[in-house]
């Protein structure tokens, strides 16, 4: 069995991989949910747009479930502290996510335009609200959340819901919205016929531009004004998972410490920006397939950028910094981490293989012609 420290780092990487998997797969159907009412003008156009994601969105969303499951099983303290602290935000995300399956399923059942408009709006909310709130949640990690532990090690959250809407968190929300909007637009440009495809390319370029501005602004703010945290002493990478044994130093710009120490990690933010610019260009010259790959790189590199800045922190505390959760003190036992690692190594390739097969079966553009010939019973 590998040592505890390596297992913890591997599970930090797996958590990142699952987040990236979620963003790359479910990201495009959330993103398409944001924009389909604007790039599809008639009912038929909207149905074609929705049909391009209907067969796959559910499988994609399991990446999110799996991410939650991985936090529950590998980082139980993070699970307890985050779900309990972000209680009302999670409630809103859940309501928005529940609107999606019912929207997809109910929409086409009755041809009345008012009925369809109503469910179209639920799908739009279901795509936009989670994309925004995921970004807001990430932004709050950099601000630290007001929580600590009581003597039974139960997390106690001392903030309210509105505290989460700090300007920096909202800026992170814009980063998340624009990158998922870009991703959804690139997918639409690739997967549906005209005239929706061309409109999607325009929307995607707009989103790419917003992303570049917001991403640079968030980085500059992090470097100049925002308080960051570093572990002072007492953290044992192989020690028991108790977040009460360390000291933490708070200072402005400390979130960039990893970037100052290791120049190579600058590749992540560079890749995020370059890929976003590339996506803009590729959508402009009519290469949606390559643009989709570029937007996927943007997503992966953005998540990596944030993860590297926070490392080894998972969920810093603003009121009790020394009780914030890190990779070294919030994990499951070594035994649990190891068993789950074996399960992941055995099963993830199988999941990836059959997911690839499903996408192959569903290949091809959903054009208006196609819609007139086939139209599902869904």
């Amino acid at each position: 069995m590998p040592d505890y420290e390596s297992l913890r780092v591997v599970w930090w990487l797996i958590l990142g991989t699952l987040l990236i998997g979620f963003a790359v797969t479910d990201g495009f159907d959330l993103g398409l949910g944001m924009i389909f009412r604007f790039i599809g003008r008639t009912d038929e156009e909207r149905r074609a747009l929705l049909e391009s994601i209907e067969p796959v969105w559910e499988g994609n969303q399991v990446w999110f479930i799996l991410g939650g499951g991985a936090v529950f099983a590998a980082w139980p303290l993070l699970y307890a502290a985050s779900f309990s602290s972000l209680y009302l935000a999670m409630f809103l995300i859940l309501i928005a996510l529940i609107l999606r399956p019912v929207g997809f399923t109910f929409r086409n059942k009755i041809p009345d335009p008012r009925w369809r408009n109503f469910w179209d709006w639920t799908l739009l909310i279901g795509g936009t609200v989670p994309a925004l709130l995921f970004g807001v949640a990430f932004g709050n990690l950099f601000l630290g959340l007001p929580f600590h532990f009581d003597e039974l090690m139960r997390p106690v959250y001392t903030g309210g819901f509105l505290n989460l809407l700090h300007p920096y968190a909202l800026l992170a929300g814009v980063v998340s919205l624009s990158m998922l909007g870009l991703h959804g637009a690139a997918y639409a440009a690739l997967k549906v016929g005209e005239p929706m495809s061309a409109r999607a390319a325009v929307a995607g370029r707009l989103a790419a531009a917003v992303f570049v501005v917001a991403f640079i602004a968030a980085g500059a703010w992090l470097a100049s004004g925002l308080d960051g945290q570093r572990i002072g002493s007492g953290a044992d990478p192989s020690g028991p998972s108790s977040p009460l044994l360390k000291s933490v130093v708070v200072s402005p710009g400390a979130w960039l410490a990893n970037y100052r120490q290791h120049a190579i990690v600058w590749l992540a933010p560079m890749a995020a920006l370059l890929a976003a610019v590339a996506a803009w260009v590729l959508l402009h010259v009519g290469r949606p397939g390559a643009a989709f790959v570029a937007s996927s790189v943007t997503l992966a590199a953005t998540i990596l950028t944030a993860g590297i800045a926070l490392f080894p922190f998972l969920m810093p505390s603003s009121t009790h910094p020394e009780q914030g959760l890190t990779v070294w003190d919030a994990s499951s036992s070594a035994k649990t981490l190891f068993i789950m690692l074996v399960v992941v190594i055995l099963l993830l390739p199988i999941v990836l293989a059959y997911t690839a097969w499903v996408y192959r079966v569903l290949k091809g553009r959903i054009t208006l012609e196609y819609m007139r010939k086939h139209s599902g019973l869904y």
């Binding site: 796959v56 309990s84 998972s241 108790s242 649990t336």
Partner: protein, 421 residues
């Protein structure tokens, strides 16, 4: 991983009809079913661990339960029985649904061929499933009598231990104040046979189990005191020895935190309160269990009669049966919910049996927060359920021959036509 299997293929199930061969589509359908069954298995393994927390130990350094044996969690006997019981109950629900809707078609004299065939399939599948629900329910009861004696005693409203084999109370009015059951109608021997599968082993009554809890609370106080000392000074060897000796009863010591801030200062009255708090709500369990079992037996009868009528080709003449089948529609939902109440409410006051009291398992969020989210979810889901029922009734009224109302794949339209008479 199971969710992945189910969710990835369910899209292809709906949208792959024209893109896959018939065999291919059948395989996809089977994979969806396999995925949802695996999901149920893992969910019930987790639930079974809360009923019977095996394969784990408490770590005082991290203040939590940690895995010690994965295989014991995986092969928890409670999980095996619960899995088949719960999944089969789901199949019964599906079968009653098909039976009821088909009965409605027959009462209306439409879609006769499809309805009769559906009824025959639902009846035979449903009979097999309802039998296994009862058999595995019995297995669950047997296992509960092994590790959750209090739950069994509360379900049976058995206040005092009877001389074995114990009698089964078919009807009675459990009285929590008097700690007795009035107007009991009993079948001799039956409970002893079901719960212990013997004629000489006793089914412990509530009074004896409360005494047992009192002993464990005394030991749990020692564990709690030692844990506090260990938290203050991890090198305290004496405290560690005391903790190791009493850690199995720590949960019982924590029960006292509801009545007193420091368990080691608990008065005998408070210990008595905590010991009696291990008794779940007897009348609720007593009645939920009896109605659930009654419904389970009723479903067996319903399916058996349906099979009889099906082999005699007498559905259309038997309007009385069709009406019963139609009005049975909500019953499996009721049975399933009652089963859930028996399993989960019957575990109270524990979130994890014997380990974590429910009042400590809750988060530190304010009650107002939780009330707001609960109200929100209740309203949201009620609205969705109303839409769902409306759409389902619309589909049912339209029937299999009405599917052509909106564009359908040619193959599905051909199927709908072919199955009409």
């Amino acid at each position: 991983m199971a969710f992945f299997l189910e969710s990835t293929f369910v899209g292809l199930f709906f949208f792959g009809w024209d893109r896959l061969s018939k065999i291919g589509h059948l395989v996809v359908t089977a994979l969806v079913a396999l995925g949802s069954s695996l999901s149920a298995l893992w969910i019930l393994i987790a639930n079974a661990w809360m009923q019977n927390p095996t394969g784990a130990h408490f770590n005082y350094q991290t203040m939590r339960m940690e895995l010690s044996s994965f295989s014991r969690v995986l092969f928890n006997p409670v999980a095996q029985a619960k899995f088949v019981h719960t999944v089969a109950a789901g199949y019964v629900l599906g079968s009653v649904f098909v039976l009821a809707i088909s009965a409605w078609y027959l009462l209306r004299g439409r879609n006769i061929a499809v309805a009769k065939r559906s009824m025959a399939v639902a009846a035979s599948f449903g009979l097999a499933c309802s039998l296994s629900v009862v058999v595995l329910g019995d297995e669950s009861g047997y296992l509960a009598s092994e590790n959750q004696k209090m739950k069994v005693a509360a379900i049976e409203a058995e206040w005092r231990t009877e001389t074995p084999p114990a009698a089964f109370t078919v009807f009675g009015l459990p009285d929590v104040q008097a700690r007795a059951t009035h107007a009991a109608v009993q079948v001799p021997w039956l409970l002893g046979l079901i719960a212990t599968r013997s004629i000489d082993r006793p089914v412990l009554g509530i009074y004896d189990l409360v005494e047992r809890a009192r002993g464990r609370i005394a030991s749990g106080i020692q564990a709690h005191t030692a844990l506090k000392a260990l938290r203050a000074n991890p090198a305290d060897a004496e405290a560690k020895a005391q903790f190791v000796a009493h850690q199995a009863d720590l949960g019982y010591g924590l029960l006292l935190l509801r009545y007193v801030a420091d368990p080691s200062a608990a008065t005998p009255a408070q210990i008595d309160q905590a010991a009696w708090s291990t008794v779940p709500n007897v009348p609720v369990l007593f009645w939920c269990f009896r109605v659930m079992v009654g419904l389970g037996l009723f479903f067996i009868l319903l399916f058996a009669v349906a099979i009889y009528l099906s082999t005699r080709h007498r559905f259309e003449q038997s309007h009385w049966f069709l009406r019963i089948a139609l009005f049975s529609l909500p019953l499996p939902w009721i049975a399933v919910e009652l089963g859930w109440i028996v399993a989960e409410y019957g575990r109270q006051p524990w979130a994890i049996d014997g380990v974590l009291p429910t009042f400590l398992g809750v988060s530190t969020r304010s009650a107002g927060n939780v009330l707001a989210s609960l109200t929100g979810f209740a309203m949201f889901y009620s609205a969705l359920a109303a839409v769902e029922v409306y759409l389902m009734m619309r589909m049912i009224r339209r029937g299999p021959d009405g599917l052509g109302y909106w564009p359908v794949p040619p193959s599905a339209a051909a199927f709908a036509t072919a199955t009409q008479v």
